[in-house]
Symmetry: C2
Subunit: 462 residues, 2 copies
């Protein structure tokens, strides 16, 4: 019987394994992972730190028993160190004992994910200077936070999704939180006009936000604290004058490609493993998916945009093809969402600045404010909706929405995402037959109000 082996127990590996077992309940499927946390929700870590999630084990999408019940063999604490392509076997080292071994395969999937970048000057891993990517990292942060007195100063370096979610978690834990961000606003996945709303939301909830500020070094201070040194405007760097009891580093990730390279796979965009849309590496019987591989993007072509949603889809494609199927990954449009305190920020497709670099387009971006539902019904709130389109063709290129967490922002961005997937124009977004009832929408939904405002601006500029 064909033996499918997935290396990596996160989204891509698990999705591949589940898909294979779904399509062929007799398939022989193994998932090998370097730690003992198969199928954990890395995205959920901030909610464990905050206390919203009571137990670490609640973060498992599925327990080990669930996976075994689905017919998947788990090899935990087993690190893959090399792939013998000719012999079709993976050389392994056991995490605890250090014992070497090997696992044979017929088809192998590399789902080694990504790892945090380690910028110069920041001694990540020193006591009190912690990364946050793996469950082991999460445990260290959880322990460090539990040891802090109320009101202790904590710095979060990097204001992406995890950085912002961690600020919210640390505020919930009663700490004094300073967020350091290189860009002009937090959440650089949004254009700055919309990112500013999130910067304001973080500040309104008590986070000291230093924008335009680049950390240059950390130096130890008394009692195990750290002084953070940075370049930026005085008003920002002043926020760093006192030492921090804990520094959490959330500066993004890079693809983990060593294993794939050692197997002979080539690298592509952003140094990620090159795969085709069937998740083939080109090395016989070696597949790859998830954060370690390039991303096929429906607007940008090949890029690298590591997201859990994408890893699931790529893994599912790989699982089917490793069984002999011929599924293609349909491609990402870069849809993302994050809750920051009482706001939700979402984005799909290209930002204004991304579109400016896209050959053959003349992008135009507009921002519209529209109520989430009829103003006469209680609880209506404004949505800020940025739309980017191509003035020549009227084609939708991207959208961004910021609004209250009650305003169905996430699923509104999904309407734009579906339209992007279909290659729609903004006019076609207006044509969509969207739902309406006064407590939940308007006869023209806010996304259509924004599409029509973009069309108006396009006409006025023509």
């Amino acid at each position: 019987m064909t033996h499918l082996l997935a290396i990596g127990g996160s989204d891509a590996g698990i999705a591949a394994a589940l898909r294979a077992r779904e399509l062929d309940p007799s398939a022989d499927v193994t998932v090998m992972l370097a730690d003992s946390y198969p199928n954990y929700s890395i995205c959920g870590i901030p909610y464990w730190i905050s206390g919203d999630v009571a137990a670490e084990s609640d973060l498992a999408h599925r327990t080990g028993s669930d996976l075994e019940a689905a017919g998947i063999r788990l090899l935990t604490d087993t690190r893959a160190v090399a792939i013998d392509v000719d012999g079709r076997r993976v050389e392994t080292v056991h995490a605890a004992s250090g014992a070497s071994s090997h696992v044979s395969y017929d088809e192998v999937l590399i789902g080694t994910g990504a790892h945090p970048v380690r910028p110069d000057g920041i001694p990540v891993g020193e006591p009190g200077v912690l990364p946050l990517h793996t469950m082991a990292d999460a445990e260290a942060v959880h322990e460090a936070v539990a040891a802090l007195a109320a009101g202790a100063r904590v710095a979060v370096i990097g204001a992406g999704y995890i950085g912002l979610e961690m600020c919210e978690a640390l505020i919930a834990r009663g700490l004094d939180v300073t967020l350091v961000q290189r860009g002009p606003e937090v959440l650089s996945t949004l254009d700055p006009e919309l990112g500013a709303l999130i910067t304001g939301e973080a500040r309104a909830h008590g986070v000291a936000v230093a924008t335009g500020t680049t950390v240059t070094s950390l130096t130890p201070d008394r009692g195990g604290t750290w002084l953070v040194h940075a370049s930026g405007p005085d008003s920002s760097t002043n926020l760093l004058d006192a030492p921090f009891s804990l520094v959490i580093v959330c500066l993004g990730v890079a693809p983990s490609t060593e294993l794939a390279v050692s197997a002979g796979a080539e690298l592509g965009s952003h140094g990620a493993v090159a795969v085709d849309d069937r998740m083939r590496t080109g090395v016989p019987h070696v597949w790859a998916a998830g954060d370690c591989v390039v991303t096929h993007h429906r607007l940008l072509g090949l890029t690298w945009l590591p997201l859990g949603t994408t890893a699931h889809k790529q893994g599912r494609v790989a699982g089917e093809n490793m069984l002999g199927g011929d599924r293609r990954y349909a491609g990402s449009v870069g849809t993302q969402v994050v809750k920051v305190f009482d706001l939700v920020a979402a984005r799909t497709g290209l930002r204004d600045r991304d579109a400016a670099d896209l050959p053959g387009t003349t992008p135009l971006s507009s921002i519209t404010i529209a109520d989430d539902h009829k103003a006469y019904y209680p609880g209506a709130v404004p949505l800020s909706i940025g739309v980017t389109g191509d003035t020549a063709t009227g084609r939708l290129l991207g959208a961004q929405i910021v609004g209250h967490r009650s305003a169905e922002v996430a699923k509104r961005i999904d309407v734009f995402a579906a339209a992007l997937h279909a290659g729609s124009t903004l006019d076609e977004v207006s044509d969509l037959d969207l739902s309406y009832t006064p407590p939940l929408g308007s006869p023209w939904d806010a996304v259509q109000v924004a599409a029509q405002a973009w069309e108006r601006e396009r006409r006025e500029r023509a």
Copy 2:
């Protein structure tokens, strides 16, 4: 200068007028309406009755002054009685004075809407037996409800959107509410398995629901009350044993086509005015849109599905074309949503029973329960998602969702609506790059979990 005249001051007429003025700020545009409520939200009436909306005037999408500021001339209290097609003028009667007059036009839009059906045996319009369609109806109901003592018995006949919303409003007003519905469950826009959830929700909030019950007659009882007589199971008709202080009739509508017919327009599906996808009636310079016209449906072809969202779109198309444009109405997919107490029910495309009648398809429907967001994050609730697709092609034919009002049901149905608009398969719904963050979704959104469950069921039946 070309004079555009819209007859009817609701969604279609106003949308046409606004679109014409948007595209040509010098256009000469008049909206004629039989009452004095231009651009009122008929969908908002239950929320005025409930007290959620403080003042009737709050239900105006735009005030008369707003419309005049947009350059639209309003002729209120002016009923169009005939169209002189050769003379290009509309014969009118003033509502109060009864004076006859006429208004000339170059292009005229008929947006006469629909009117409540008046079934045999129900003396609609008698004191205490009230319809609910126009603002005048709303005023009568508002006044009647205000005159009732707490706990007075009120019957609502018909459990569609307005009937259900009225039950909620009347419960909010402290009344004893009985809902009478002919079908096996309330909300026959859903398949019964999902409608049952709404029946249960109404009952849980104190509404006595008589399903499978057809009202045969009403007879006056003491003190101006009414006895409701019906056929149906004893257990249901028993709910009608005591008299009602007020009976509200919400039994649906029929297209108001007299004016169009008098102008020589032809009727089509369901007796609605036949128009092409440019909203032309075929009578020179006479256009029609909104609840009075047939609906171009992307799956069903020509049908009649009166909805405010559709009226807005058709009106907008007409307004552009009356100016000489060449816009086509892209077609409805029948997307609808309603909030009933703490649940939201939404639907797009075809129900199981509709699909069974569609030529060339072998429909399969499945119902899936999926959480709205990751179960580990507080507040996760189950969504019941019905999916109907064609087993031969895998094409999505329709979807229905019932879930808590916090669960972004409305915008989730919109994702299905966008996929239907694009003619997608269920597999392609899985391919959509939808947003994910633990507080708001899952790596595979609930709509994709349902799509995959449908695909699984299709495979198992193959």
